[in-house]
């Protein structure tokens, strides 16, 4: 099965939540020097929830789609719950089987999210 499913391609071509949120509570950047993928993510937190989250950056279709889908998922959710998100969740969210190397691309936005929420 191709890893370029309709869902992934849709999120790659029309990524959701691109940009920088206004008055962010925090902003972080992560990168994978191995392939040059770089994502910055910003969040505004209100009453223990993600009020708004945006990302921008460059990278492959997988890292871009994963960023789009992850930011879409976490919007409005309670931070306590988001701390449990892990690799297994990302794989489930993307719904495709990825090899070890491409999995790194998919996990880059999760790394950004963890960094964003670490002190909340």
């Amino acid at each position: 099965m191709s890893i370029y499913s309709e869902l992934i391609l849709d999120n790659y071509e029309n990524p959701r939540n691109v940009g920088v949120v206004k008055k962010p509570s925090k902003r972080v950047s992560v990168s994978n020097p191995l392939c040059g993928d770089a994502i910055s993510m910003s969040v505004r937190i209100k009453k223990g929830r993600v009020a708004e989250i945006k990302f921008e950056g460059t990278g492959c279709a997988i890292s871009q789609a994963s960023s789009s889908m992850l930011t879409e998922y976490v919007k409005g959710k309670e931070i306590v719950l988001l701390k449990n998100l892990d690799k297994k969740f990302i794989i489930m969210m993307l719904g495709v089987e990825l090899g070890v190397n491409r999995l790194k691309c998919a996990l880059l936005p999760l790394e950004a999210l963890k960094k964003l929420l670490v002190e909340y």
């Binding site: 191709s2 370029y4 191995l34 392939c35 492959c60 279709a61 997988i62």
Partner: protein, 414 residues
């Protein structure tokens, strides 16, 4: 081209994975039956340790092991097989020189010169040595055509090499641009300025594809790997001038490399054994000679010609099919270039291109190919690389083009 018609049949991977289009021999080559059989023969018939045993199968293993050393020496036109040191890979060979001779001769204010087109394994060991010993680390740039940005006719080289340059570390063939550097001329010019300069050549992408002759080249050390030239993994070669190997410190201490050990002191064997501590990859080294025989049976000149024709055809076809959309790296003149074609395709990320090509059973490399300084110089995060060897043919290029059309179709005009 007749020699190449039936080559594929001698590589079992093509029967076990029908339809495989393998365009990543620069990373590692495929293995022919003769190499696999020889490896299996050692493990099945005489899998004993070398040197120490007085029983017959150990003596047989030692004999076969040393035969490879002889064959490698003849293959490189080395003066003696004592100049052939077995390591794990090119990286270890280069580190061996940097750790032993490098640390003996490079001091504060001395210079180490390398190039921006090096693989990390001929870049980082020297950079770190310079940091450690307070030496100046100089890096020769590349020009926009993909050649080293200095004229080795004696006009600009005095700005780079000086009396204080202790080491010149340089690649024979770039693993990304494919550029074949005029190593012999470079060494000649460098020695005019500083006759004592130690020249270390990374020949990992040269020995599998070109007729390399250390006697003519004029370098002091030359490193390459078995696995990139049809041989097993886990085997590297360091060729070095015997007088240098003799005065160098050992790299690792332990079994096999000593003459006598007492509490007060240890005396070491002569080269090459001084540098071969511990049990080596015996079976792999034994089987490596079959790889050399395989290449010799075809002939390195024919191999070079075959790869040149394919790489040139790939380069021209990609340009013709995709025009401005494809950014090709490296020299246009294939007389100066090996069988490597690195490129970026539109705005598609190299990983996406490689993943979609993989769906079509086409194996290409995506990433920075262990050459980050070069990719920074090219202003590219990464690139896709197709490389050619004896088992490739024109059909592979047609399928690559077809695969790239599929990439366009899936990822659209992003």
């Amino acid at each position: 081209m007749d020699e190449f018609k039936n080559v594929k049949k001698q590589f079992p991977i093509f029967s076990n994975f029908p339809g495989l289009i393998y365009l990543d021999s620069t990373a590692t080559s495929l293995k022919p039956w003769s190499v696999i059989d020889e490896l299996s023969k050692y493990y099945s018939n005489y899998s004993a340790n070398i040197y120490r045993g007085v029983y017959r199968i150990s003596e047989k293993a030692t004999e076969e092991f040393e035969k490879t050393r002889q064959i490698v020496a003849q293959f490189l036109k080395a003066k003696t097989s004592d100049e052939i040191v077995f390591t794990r890979n090119t990286t270890e060979s280069l580190n061996l020189v940097a750790y032993t001779l490098g640390r003996q001769i490079v001091g504060e204010g001395d210079e180490i010169v390398t190039t921006v087109m090096e693989h990390h394994s001929n870049f980082v060991p020297w950079q770190q040595l310079a940091f450690e010993n307070g030496a100046v680390f100089k890096v020769i740039d590349v020009d926009d055509r993909g050649y080293l940005a200095c004229h080795f006719d004696g006009t600009t080289i005095p700005n780079i090499i000086s009396k204080r340059t202790k080491v010149l570390a340089l690649t024979y063939v770039s693993n990304v641009l494919g550029t074949i550097n005029p190593v012999k001329q470079i060494i000649l010019q460098a020695r005019k300025i500083n006759p004592d300069i130690i020249v270390v050549v990374d020949a990992a992408q040269a020995v599998p594809h070109l007729d390399v002759n250390v006697a003519e080249l004029g370098c002091d050390f030359l490193a390459f790997s078995s696995h990139k030239m049809l041989g097993p993994t886990g085997v590297g070669v360091l060729w070095g001038r015997l007088n240098l190997l003799e005065k160098m410190f050992p790299f690792m201490f332990g079994g096999e490399m000593i003459v006598d050990v007492s509490i007060a002191k240890t005396t070491f064997k002569r080269p090459p054994h001084k540098f071969e501590a511990g049990t080596p990859a015996i079976g792999e080294i034994i089987a490596f000679k079959e790889a050399i025989k395989f290449l010799q049976a075809i002939g390195l000149e024919k191999i070079r010609h075959h790869e040149k024709i394919l790489a040139l055809r790939c380069f021209d076809t990609l340009k013709k099919e995709f025009g401005e959309k494809i950014k090709l790296y490296g020299p246009n003149n294939f007389d100066d270039r090996g069988g490597v074609v690195a490129f970026n395709f539109g705005d598609y990320h190299s990983h996406d291109v490689a993943s979609i090509l993989d769906e079509e059973n086409i194996a290409v490399r995506a990433g920075h190919h262990c050459a980050m300084p070069l990719h920074k110089r090219l202003d590219a995060n990464s690139s896709v690389r197709a490389s050619f060897y004896i088992y490739n043919n024109e059909n592979d290029i047609d399928l690559l083009v077809k695969g790239l059309r599929k990439v366009e179709k899936i990822l659209k005009n992003k």
